[in-house]
């Protein structure tokens, strides 16, 4: 599969072929501009490849009509470096918002949200606003929001990029726990510490090509 952005001199991803099994935990590593984040965008159907196919959960995303995209996204959870929480909503409301805008009732939210906040270790902090929480806690809210809908896949784009090493480890433990529930976790990072500690499948990308695909790998 190849993806070239308009105006780019070379493809962001060049003839890349990767298969990730259900329930796997995969790291994409590589230097900035290597094409790691393009993988996330392709999986989210934010961009489409110029050549080749992207198949997610057995569905061909490449040929998916754009009006089907919202429904498709409900099976994928997303976590980003910058958390992307709504500043004027509490932790509870941030997570509940994700449920309500896809048509779940407030009753469902009342049942599910405290459960998932408990799972990410934020029991008792439901009614704090993002600015009243530490970076690690904010990322936990983001993880809770991504996971509350029980997605099949969790995409994490440098989730520890803004966090200190200890907090990063805690977030990784959380992602690991989520992975153990059967959720596939795809994480883009250049945090070598974390990759070395986790000892999971590592796919290294350089200049748009896969240079390494190693089970139980290290950063390099």
């Amino acid at each position: 599969m190849t993806k070239t952005y308009p105006k780019a001199s070379r493809p962001s991803l060049d003839n890349v072929s990767v298969s990730i099994e259900k329930g796997e935990f995969v790291f994409f590593i590589g230097p900035s501009g290597s094409g790691k984040s393009t993988i996330i965008k392709l999986l989210l159907h934010e961009v489409t490849p110029n050549k080749g196919r992207v198949v997610v959960n057995g569905k061909d995303v490449t040929s998916m009509r754009s009006w089907k995209r919202p429904h498709f996204r409900r099976s994928i959870g997303c976590v980003f470096q910058d958390f992307r929480l709504l500043p004027n909503r509490t932790a509870y409301e941030n997570v509940a918002f994700a449920l309500e805008v896809i048509g779940k009732t407030k009753a469902v939210a009342r049942r599910v949200v405290p459960e998932v906040l408990e799972l990410v270790g934020l029991g008792g902090k439901e009614h704090r606003y993002p600015h009243e929480l530490s970076g690690g806690e904010q990322q936990r809210v983001a993880v809770a929001r991504a996971f509350v809908n029980r997605p099949l896949i969790l995409l994490a784009d440098e989730p520890t990029g803004n966090l200190d090493p200890d907090t990063s480890i805690e977030i990784m433990r959380l992602l690991d726990r989520i992975n153990r529930t059967g959720t596939t976790v795809v994480m883009v990072t250049h945090d070598s510490n974390i990759v070395n500690q986790m000892r999971r499948r590592v796919i290294e990308i350089e200049s748009g090509r896969i240079v390494r695909d190693q089970a139980r790998g290290v950063y390099g």
Binding site: W67, R69, P70, H71, F72, R73, R74, I76, C78, R84, L86, P87, F97, A98, E100, V101, I102, G103, T105, K106, R145, N149
Partner: protein
């Protein structure tokens, strides 16, 4: 539950940028008022044309020294003319009676004029008032005729003015509508910008497109509907004011615009206001939100 969310978002959205909302509503109201006004005028002009041209007459005034023979010849000719529907002969006495009626307010004038001084005339109703010219050409050289007067000449002038007013109102409506359109587009852009975080999260978690767009589109539609209500109120105000002022004198000339006609234009104004706003908002979102 979701309806409640959408509606509260609409209210918050309208209130967040209230100066812009007011500007949008006022422009919309003026535009729709002009549109409704020109629509009513269009209807009226049509009604009046039917009414007046139906009754329009061509008067052929005869010379005071007209010969008996000339008059009968003319009458036979007119009666046989396929363009003429009806011919009425008005002799000097009848002409004097009409004159007395017309100038009842000025007895001095009436006293000064003798029946003898007034010309005899034929009053013609034409099958088609537009064919006046042919009648004129045909009879202008006939013996014993002084002048031929066509009332529709005057009507043409009156209707020319009314059509001008109507076109002016319509042109102004279109210009104001363009301004309203730009204001709607701008308001929606501002609203989309101030809610960009929410929109980003909604897209991320897979909220449907209509759910993301609905609050914005409805915001514009609500403004459009409020604008159309204000436009209706303006029309009502104009009618009320006109009825109590110098315009009342024109009531005899211009067929009055009834309340029901004013209220019947409201659906048109509301539909135009709502639809134009909705489409503008939706198109703006396509460019600005990329959902």
């Amino acid at each position: 539950m979701r309806m409640k969310y959408v509606l509260s978002e609409v209210l918050v959205g309208l209130w967040r940028n209230v100066t812009m909302t007011v500007a949008m509503i006022i422009t919309m109201a003026v535009s729709l008022f002009m549109l409704g006004g020109s629509g009513l005028l269009y209807q009226k002009v049509g009604d009046m044309k039917d009414l007046y041209y139906e009754n329009v007459q061509v008067s052929i005034f005869l010379k005071t020294d007209v010969q008996e023979q000339q008059r009968t010849d003319l009458e036979t000719k007119l009666n046989a003319d396929p363009l003429v529907k009806d011919v009425t002969y008005v002799n000097k006495d009848e002409a004097y009676k009409r004159f007395q009626q017309m100038y009842a307010d000025a007895p001095d004038l009436v006293n000064a004029v003798k029946p003898d001084q007034l010309p005899e005339s034929f009053r013609l109703t034409l099958n088609d008032p537009q064919q006046y010219k042919q009648i004129y050409d045909q009879y202008k050289t006939a013996e014993g005729i002084d002048t031929i007067v066509d009332q529709s000449k005057l009507l043409d002038k009156v209707f020319g003015v009314l059509t001008g007013i109507q076109n002016g109102a319509l042109a102004l409506a279109i210009v104001m509508a363009a301004a309203a359109l730009l204001l709607v587009a701008n308001t929606i852009q501002v609203a989309a910008y101030s809610k960009r975080r929410e929109v980003a999260v909604m897209k991320l978690v897979g909220a449907s497109n209509w759910f993301i767009q609905a609050p914005f589109v409805l915001e514009a539609v609500v403004a459009g509907l409020i604008g159309s209500i204000l436009g209706l109120l303006a029309l009502i105000g104009v009618k009320t004011l006109a009825a109590g002022s110098s315009m009342a004198a024109l009531e005899g000339l211009i067929t009055p615009i009834s309340w029901s006609e004013i209220f019947l234009t409201f659906p048109l104004m509301a539909a135009v206001g709502g639809l134009v706003s909705a489409i503008t908002a939706w198109v703006t979102l396509r460019f600005y939100l990329r959902v």
